[in-house]
Subunit: 294 residues, 2 copies
């Protein structure tokens, strides 16, 4: 469990996956009116943010030892304003104290100094890594890396509508997503850790299995964050094409699979507390992934 | 000055531009160590956020009557955490009270319900419109519109590195930026106001003048937010190709030109207070734009 804080993100991620034996990431997408009853409050009141905090801390306690990482969805906290941002910082603190890697799902992207401000905001709340949008060009991703963060660049997102941009075919034969994957690979070249991975990861949805192998081939060293497992319909089989070949440890296989709603809202089940349901869903996800991606 | 709050964003924007006679937008990009001395505080202290607030309110007072809109850069506030977010909300409140349109420069973009949370965050701080990133597909932009916000979709950004994605040529002959412009036009079709504009705008940098005419031709009704004027080297001449043809009022010409650093950090000049320098820079920008874009 002793990891030098100066270690590269990609190495810390691989270590965390190895510790639990499966590339499980649990998405923290707390929505006030979906929380277990004991965490609900009058809509619009400050107590709503308190409920979010208590729920997220409960999820963190339930998944520790079974998940390698959590992925707080920034929007769910931002919609509660300044209180939400305080909760986000405290939730991230609790997650890191529990030994979890924290991927802040913020999908940020902006030019030059503005990207530096976003990177400072992400390190300020304690994130290990952040999801970023590369539409403004690969140079706009570098400030996050320079701040010591890992990044997961949006390449092929899990929603159906993403096709309208990401599947567009370029004159040189690549899709837009493949072009973005090539940018990921180029950025990662000088940012490799000791486990064969780089600090420049990618997002490839589990629901886009048909594109997965071609995308992995273009960015062999990228850790790939795979949303869409669970509630969005992606399965462990869909993840297989993203796993890096060769005999490696689970952490070196280069995928981190995320489930949000199917885990954190797993309750109610009969005769089971909500947090037991969360723990069970996380454990089952780990077993499912171990079977499929080894 | 009496505008029904229920009026479409595009109509309110056109009215605001008509009132000042020029499409001037001032970017609120407050950075602690660039502020006039009286607003600086010990780095990392809570007073830093207070300084940001007082500076932005001073800018708002200086530009009222000369600018149609302000564009707070979300990252500059977010890097100050929860305090920064409180400041952002109060700055936006002050801007709206001064009759300014508020375009929150947040470059958000996410799928489905997450986009709804981002839209709620933007309306929660009081924004009239928000910049959005369409890499995840046009469907991900709709929740912002459904929340009553105007949007400016990133089409062709002002930074040099944007070319690596936005200038890529598709098999059908369009660039990626032109494809995004077509999405803007399609989304705008059902969202037109009474002045010939739609609520679905675009971002096209003043530094990308060579691409401007072709992009405008693809999205005739889009209000176009033009960053890059001033400190980034764009000029009023560069904006001409984005102006909609025909005899219309300034507001109906469909451009909103932004300057940030060259205006808000215009001081020091001899024998002039910092806010006088800001006012003068804003007024000069208006005169420059009136000459060039009529």
């Amino acid at each position: 469990m002793s990891v030098a804080p100066s270690a590269r993100f990609c190495d810390r991620l691989a270590d965390a996956i190895d510790r639990v034996g499966a590339p499980v990431c649990v998405g923290l997408d707390p929505v006030a009116d979906r929380l277990p009853m004991q965490f609900r409050a009058r809509p619009g009141s400050d107590d709503e943010a308190v409920g979010l905090f208590r729920f997220c801390v409960g999820v963190i306690e339930a998944v520790r030892g079974h998940a390698a990482a959590v992925k707080p969805q920034s929007a769910c906290f931002e919609r509660h304003g300044a209180s939400g941002l305080l909760v986000l910082r405290n939730v991230i603190g609790a997650a890191r104290a529990a030994g979890l890697i924290v991927v802040l799902d913020a999908k940020r992207g902006d030019i030059g100094t503005t990207a530096e401000h976003y990177a400072a905001a992400a390190t300020g709340v304690g994130a290990d890594a952040v999801t970023v949008n590369g539409y403004l060009g690969p140079e706009t991703i570098e400030p996050f890396l320079d701040a010591g963060l890992g990044v997961f660049v949006l390449v092929r997102t899990s929603n159906p509508g993403g096709d309208a941009v990401q599947s567009a075919r370029l004159a040189d034969g690549r899709t837009v997503a493949e072009m973005m994957a090539d940018h990921v690979a180029a950025l990662g070249e000088s940012r490799r850790g000791s486990r064969g991975l780089s600090d420049v990861g990618a997002v490839v949805g589990a629901t886009k299995a048909a594109d997965a192998a071609a995308l992995r081939a273009r960015m062999a060293d990228a850790p790939i964050l795979v949303p869409g497992y669970g509630a969005q319909g992606g399965t462990a089989d869909d993840v297989r094409a993203l796993v890096r070949g060769g005999s490696r440890t689970p952490g070196e296989r280069g995928v981190l699979v995320n489930a949000s709603r199917s885990v954190i809202y797993a309750a109610p089940r009969e005769a089971e507390a909500w947090d037991e349901a969360v723990r069970r869903a996380t454990r089952e996800m780990g077993e499912d992934l171990r079977r499929a991606v080894g």
